[in-house]
Subunit: 413 residues, 2 copies
């Protein structure tokens, strides 16, 4: 059944979501996109039409919206007749948008945990701090709410579940590795909003090991990985949403997240952080102007959206899952490789936005066709991974697996 | 004859000037200190009294002053009966203060060339751009104006002249080397106002070689020096005031300035500069606030004055002068070594402020006793270096010389 979609947000990921929804508006329905700045929504819709992305003739409208205002979101849902909300706005609006979906009885999804803008860093248990408090409300309202359905979190959660369902009998370790081996050609840039991007790395790093939360400093634990296509790459243990939800499902397994960083990135980050330029606490200049250093750094850095045209190279993101199979130690690496240039050619965004933006559209299609329309709140690992991975194979994010039997495409026929 | 002194400025160098003037107020006279912020002047006077620095009972008063306002400066000179003005304010006020001295007929000195705050970097011929245009006016008014009489420029100019007078018959090369081998124990800090400090290194590096100005990028030309006390140190060719005035006196010599930088300093500087955080051009944050990145960096960095208590180690600043003596190639290194901790114990400032602040007080004493009261504008190399170096030997900045005959104190008996 066709379901109308409201996209919230107008950044790089929203751009990908918009293009992908347009490419599948035969199974979705009328499309709407809303953000604080309506002109950004108009720009995205214009780029959709430029690429001729709308599969069939249909609606795609832009709206101005303060997504922190639950009743404004609810009003827009009703006005547009939307049945699925894809929230790819800032992590500060999750709860207000989710509340609006519960109020109006429509499906909700996002790609990252809710954050309080006043906090530097959220501490675990992340989902339990905000989203999971609405589990009963979702169930009662019959609302399908799929949390964290980007690539990581999102597809990597489905990969862990696939390892459980398909390749292993027991799971002892889940290492999620996210490598961007691409190059934007700038001295320094972040791939998402620098304010959000740096927040991921300024606090304590949490991992789930030995049945408990472990704490490390950022860049304290590094490891060289040797991955398909991108080769040997250094990655560092980082905190990430899915460590929490996967640790909740696999409490006896060690669950770690590893983010790839080059030495140059770490050096620049370390300099900025050490001087205090990544601080969210305002400083006062000699002239008496009160200003948040991080916002000035953001203003100096390239706009992440501006990187896409020149971005080259590939990303590799996957799960190395270890455990047992038929009583023997076994391991499997389930992964995707994406190409920045191909992403730009298709949807006008770089590969990192692409990997984050395609999965929620796949989830929207699975809600529309009923296979994931579970009428309750779910993290991705709670859902059957097969239809999701099959659909991603067809719409731009193919999954491969590497284990003792070799390196091959994952195909459920 | 005793001469009353007006100090303009209230930073780290002004603190040293105030203490040293107090220590010699028997040969100087009534002391006054003025800055935009009177409380900073009061703090300095309080520290003078704390140390019991006043040699004889006498006046030391604080004043609020906008030194960019020539008539306000002239009024204060008249009101205080000052006969010598030691300008150690920002480099933006040289011309207004000099004009006030010419108007009132009193002696003037400063420690750095005038700068236009609207320019990132002044281009040579530096002194000819501003100060030297007032040569005739000084001579006509019988005003002694000694330009650039800190350590570098200042003492290093006297060292070049001493090489000419005492050690060499012809001069072919003057390399001024400034090494701070001290440690402030912070992740990163500048020894002067970061705004002024970084300006020295963001523009083109000018040197005088082969009878003409040569241009390089900052950190393009580096050389390891092996100096007394501080040992092997890497220094980089930089633009500096005295390269111009010395090139004017010794046009056939190569004149270069070398500033010591550790790899860590260069790395931090490079990161900040590459990202645009050292820019004086305002940027606009996402929230619409217009702000100059450099001013935010300054607000994040430690206040240079706060470094003094923990500063350890030594500085070595000197001139390696090459030429001929009795028809043979000869070279001489004339230098001073200063100690951060000793400087702090004596005057409450670190060694770099100390080396910059003691020389103008020596010049004031030489004006008061008549030996440097030349009734015209002069750079330091235009004046007899012997009384200056002799006095500095006695008041905290001893000079040594190293040549074929060994390494020894410079003493004129």
């Amino acid at each position: 059944m066709k379901k109308n979609v409201l996209i919230i947000g107008a950044g790089g990921v929203a751009q990908v979501v918009a293009h992908k929804c347009a490419q599948h508006n035969d199974v979705l329905g009328a499309l709407h996109i809303a953000s604080r700045t309506k002109s950004k929504c108009n720009d995205i819709i214009a780029s959709v039409h430029e690429k001729g992305a709308m599969k069939v003739a249909g609606t795609f409208e832009a709206h101005a919206l303060d997504a922190k205002d639950t009743s404004a979101v609810a009003d827009l849902i009703r006005k547009t007749g939307s049945q699925i909300v894809i929230n790819v706005g800032t992590p500060y609006v999750n709860m207000s948008v989710l509340d609006a979906c519960i109020e109006t009885g429509v499906a909700y999804m996002d790609t990252a945990i809710h954050e309080d803008p006043a906090k530097i860093c959220e501490t675990p248990p992340w989902y339990a701090n905000y989203e999971w408090k609405k589990r009963e409300a979702c169930e009662k309202a019959g609302v399908t709410a799929i949390l964290g359905v980007g690539f990581d979190p999102g597809v990597v959660n489905a990969y862990a579940r696939l390892a459980e369902d398909q390749y292993l009998d027991t799971i002892t370790e889940i290492d999620i590795v996210d490598i961007n081996a691409g190059s934007h050609g700038k001295y320094f840039a972040t791939n998402f909003d620098p304010e959000i991007n740096f927040r991921e790395f300024t606090g304590t790093v949490y991992s789930w090991q030995g049945g408990e939360w472990r704490e490390n400093r950022m860049f304290e634990v590094g490891k060289e990985w040797d991955l398909p296509v991108v080769g040997k790459q250094k990655a560092y243990m980082s905190g990430h949403d899915e460590v929490h939800s996967l640790a909740n499902r696999y409490p006896k397994a060690d669950v770690r997240f590893w983010m790839g960083f080059g030495d140059h990135y770490i050096n620049v980050f370390t300099v900025l952080k050490s001087i205090g330029l990544l601080s969210e606490q305002p400083v006062t200049t000699a002239e008496g102007l009160e200003v948040v250093p991080l916002k000035v750094v953001k203003a100096c850095l390239p706009d992440p959206a501006s990187l896409a045209p020149g971005y080259t190279g590939k990303t590799c993101i996957g799960d190395l899952v270890k455990g047992t199979k038929d009583g023997k130690r076994a391991e499997v690496f389930i992964y995707n490789v994406a190409d920045h240039k191909e992403a730009f050619n298709e949807v006008g965004s770089q590969g990192i936005s692409y990997t984050a933006g395609v999965p929620p559209v796949a989830a929207a299609i699975l809600i529309a066709n009923g296979s994931w329309d579970v009428k309750k709140m779910a993290n991705v690992e709670d859902l059957d991974p097969k239809p999701f991975i099959s659909l991603l194979n067809r719409i731009g994010l193919p999954t491969r697996v590497k284990d003792a039997e070799g390196d091959r495409a994952v195909d459920f026929g």
